[in-house]
């Protein structure tokens, strides 16, 4: 599907979803309660068939944590980027997509490890790189420890 087709595909089904400005991929900004059903629609619709979550990551921005999903279809070849903004920076929570793509289990563990974003209904949410007794989430902008030298 082309960019325009994808845009109309999403806005027909999810009128609340905003279109992003990314030039590389068609970008959709979904609310927290819609992101899971949006992902499920992309996976299961015969027009999109997004069977591959090739990147899931997060950003620490001023307006909150952004959880970013990059989807592609190995059959149809199109790609999209989904974004969900978590305004609550103290207790960020979003629903897992690991029931849709199993690859998300490790991506979400990594995001939890480095940003402390909690993915509800995740089967095994614990740290993946750092030690289990590590204090804090190092990729948050307000992270401080005795080891780091700031400049």
């Amino acid at each position: 599907m082309t960019r325009e087709q994808l845009n109309t595909f999403v806005t027909d089904k999810f009128p609340e979803v905003k279109l992003g400005t990314s030039k590389q991929f068609p970008e959709f900004i979904a609310t927290l309660d819609q992101i899971h059903s949006l992902c499920k629609t992309f996976k299961e619709s015969p027009e999109t068939k997004m069977d591959y979550l090739f990147c899931q990551t997060a950003l620490d921005r001023k307006d909150g944590f952004h959880v970013v999903y990059h989807l592609t279809s190995s059959e149809l070849g199109h790609r999209v980027m989904l974004r969900s903004i978590l305004v609550d920076k103290i207790n960020p929570e979003v629903e897992t997509v690991s029931d849709i793509w199993q690859a998300a289990e490790y991506y979400e563990r990594e995001v939890f490890d480095l940003f402390g974003i909690k993915f509800t209904n995740h089967p095994d949410l614990r740290r993946i790189f750092l030690e289990d007794d590590w204090v804090g989430y190092p990729l948050r902008k307000d992270y401080k420890d005795v080891f780091t030298i700031d400049r």
Partner: protein, 196 residues
Amino acid sequence: MEYDDFKDNEALEELKKSGSSVLLSTVDSIINWGRSNSVWPLTFATSCCGIEMMATGGARHDFARFGIEVYRASPRQADVIVVAGTIVRKMAPVLKRLYDQMADPKYVIAMGACAVSGGPFYYNSYSVIRGVDQVIPVDVYIPGCPPRPEALLYGVMQLQRKIQALSMTSEKKGEGKEQEAKPEVKDVQANEKPAS
């Protein structure tokens, strides 16, 4: 490179002038000839410097001309560990264990900016050790990001010079070297858990 530049650090040759007996110094020179011409490195690389180290081992630059003959996959058989790449706090205990497992005499080459000082990760990094000398004692530092194979060869030749300057009577210095590094290791371990 001019031969005079190669010999720019005269402190190494000063070590030789300790004035030991004729027999000892003859034995020394034979032992050092053997040791310095068969320094076998450990197969150990943690990032892009490792690629450069492999290039040095390859046919074009050919490590083996200098007696750095063959990469050993076991620390028990290795003489030198070329720390090629970034060492993070999670890797540091592993590196220390590898070093401890190597049989004496053992040498360490810190290759590249990350192993020398933390390099590009010196600031704003929660994980990277600032120089491998905080974990194990280092014989030769090779700057560069990553260093050219020629730079590694130069470092290896400097190490050989260093080995040739040692004598049996001065070998206790090697033990002292290790003791110097030990308190720094404690520092690293103390820093392991950040006080939030």
